[in-house]
């Protein structure tokens, strides 16, 4: 049982390396969505493990996207460097905002994270340097649009997120975050510097979201205010994480994979009603397996072990 876990990871790794050889351009493009949503859903879940419900994905992905495209447009920097700068800026914004916002809890925190995206959307809409309402168009997409290379880039970003999640589960930070989520008074009385750990996790998850957003918009070689700060970037990953099962590393990964592939498939099958079917799947999932797919898997393995 102990080794089956490593075996599964190995299979997954080999599959993701071999996969592009069997996929066409369109499927590779879908895989990019899958990896972006894995990064979004898992990073959102990472923050949720500290008990904080964030809608900030849209904001930080947008900041990362805008900064990386701006770096490419104004300074003609290497796209990879642009993505890293976008990620860093998203992290710095999270640090500055977090220093104030992380004193808030519950709904108040959630509402402010929701506002971050809106504030930046209004700012970029009204600045010349960010291309105002039209946004910015880059002369070339990242890797000149080579679908294989973008696949590896997005796979790396998803893998980095997964590795961070696994590391956070296995180190001291897991205990700090769980204690904060369970009972802040106990956490503080046991010596946990709550504010420090919340700032750390908020900055890390925001930097991941900034990185994924930056890579996403580098593939499109453009950004627009409405596109980059689209609230769908906040809501879809949350649904995916809930569908897969929150509080685990593989739950959001599975949820993001299944739901983004399903969404694409439904778009092809029912061009006019795909969101209806998507919604139906969500309702069924919430009614029959509220703990997500990982909840079902855990239940089955527990039965086997008994």
């Amino acid at each position: 049982m102990k080794y089956s876990k490593y075996f599964a990871v190995l299979v997954l790794l080999i599959a993701s390396v071999v996969l592009p050889n069997f996929l066409g351009l369109y499927q590779l493009q879908i895989m990019n969505f899958v990896f972006v949503y894995i990064a979004f859903a898992l990073s959102w879940d990472l923050l949720l493990r500290s008990g904080q419900l964030s809608f900030g994905i849209a904001g930080f992905a947008g900041i990362g996207g805008y900064i990386s495209v701006l770096c490419g447009y104004h300074f003609a920097l290497n796209p990879i460097l642009c993505i890293l700068i976008g990620s860093a800026v998203a992290g710095i914004v999270a640090l500055l905002v977090g220093y104030q916002v992380l004193k808030l809890r519950g709904l108040y925190f959630s509402i402010v994270t929701l506002a971050i995206g809106e504030i930046f959307r209004v700012i970029v809409r009204n600045l010349e340097v960010t291309g105002a309402a039209e946004g910015i168009l880059l002369p070339n997409a990242i890797f000149m649009g080579n679908a294989f290379k973008t696949y590896w880039l997005m796979l790396t970003i998803a893998a980095v997120t997964i590795i961070i999640s696994i590391l956070f589960k296995k180190t001291r930070i897991h205990y700090a975050l769980t204690s904060i989520a369970n009972d802040e008074i106990v956490a503080a009385s046991s010596g946990v510097n709550i504010f420090k750990y919340l700032v750390i996790i908020f900055v890390v998850t925001s930097a991941i979201q900034g990185m994924a957003g930056a890579a996403y918009w580098q593939i499109y070689a453009s950004v627009t205010p409405e596109g980059a700060f689209n609230l769908g970037f906040a809501l879809l990953p949350i649904t995916m994480a809930l569908f897969g099962g929150v509080g685990t590393t593989w739950g959001p990964v599975i949820g993001a994979t299944i739901l983004s592939v399903t969404a694409e498939y439904l778009k092809l099958q029912f061009p006019h009603g795909h969101l209806l079917v998507y919604g139906f799947i969500m309702v069924v999932a919430i009614l029959w397996f509220p703990r997500g797919i990982m909840g079902v898997i855990n239940k089955i393995t527990a039965k086997f072990n008994n």
Partner: protein
């Protein structure tokens, strides 16, 4: 020698004064009891000293240092630890992990050292099957686990907020032995308690609170004979 010294500490909740000018000293290596009727301010006092609330006015000194405005985790690092009146286990962690929390963040131990020390503490407090989830533990075990979690921070001063509440007679005896065992290791302990027998058996000195003020202090025999205390607190017992 006083390890903890509060000088005219007050705490207001809006218009309600939960503590009024409370000056208490806790001496090194003693077991001090805090008693008083419901709402006297016993738990508020613990919360103010441990940093859950900051005092509205007054001064708190610990080991000669002013820690009045320090946050809860800083007070923990300074060496003040506590358990809770209503048990507050972290349900997301199991028995040993709950204890490890104190060792990791109270003392900045790496995980391995924390686990080793926590296992020793569990042995010391007679906690078995340390990988159990909280849902598989009895009330007494959870109380002991919380004491272990508090001890894992290696405090100089331990507050036990109603450690016997909700326990039956045998469990109470067990708990009294446990407190003695901890004290024999050189720990300074403050116990807040409603069960008078526990106060009588364990404490060297008792402070009585009423309506947020110190009513009197002294040995159990002296305090329990004080007519003011009998009216305020033990009066009910005298009737039956």
């Amino acid at each position: 020698m006083a390890i903890l010294k509060t000088t005219e500490v007050s705490r207001l909740f809006g218009g309600l004064a939960a503590l009024i000018d409370v000056s208490i000293e806790v001496n090194e290596n003693e077991i001090m009891g805090i008693i008083g009727p419901n709402g006297a301010g016993k738990s508020t006092f613990t919360n103010v000293v441990a940093g859950v609330y900051l005092p509205t006015s007054g001064k708190i000194e610990f080991c000669g240092q002013d820690i009045t405005r320090n946050a809860a985790h800083e007070k923990c690092h300074a060496g003040i630890s506590r358990t809770f009146q209503l048990t507050r286990p972290l349900v997301g962690l199991n028995l040993i992990e709950n204890v490890m929390l104190g060792a990791m963040f109270g003392r900045n131990h790496p995980m391995e050292t924390a686990r080793k020390e926590s296992m020793e503490l569990c042995k010391f407090l007679d906690l078995k099957n340390i990988e159990r989830p909280i849902s598989a533990m009895t009330a007494l075990e959870i109380k002991k686990m919380e004491i272990a979690r508090a001890l894992a921070t290696k405090p100089k001063l331990l507050f036990l907020d109603e450690a016997m509440a909700g326990l039956n007679k045998n469990e109470t005896m067990d708990m009294i032995d446990t407190v003695r065992k901890i004290h024999s290791q050189g720990m300074t302990i403050v116990i807040i308690e409603h069960v008078m027998r526990v106060i009588r058996e364990l404490t060297h000195r008792v402070v009585v609170l009423e309506w947020g003020k110190v009513l009197c202090e002294g040995t159990y025999d002296k305090v329990s004979a004080d007519p003011r205390v009998i009216t305020a607190y033990l009066g009910e017992e005298a009737e039956c």
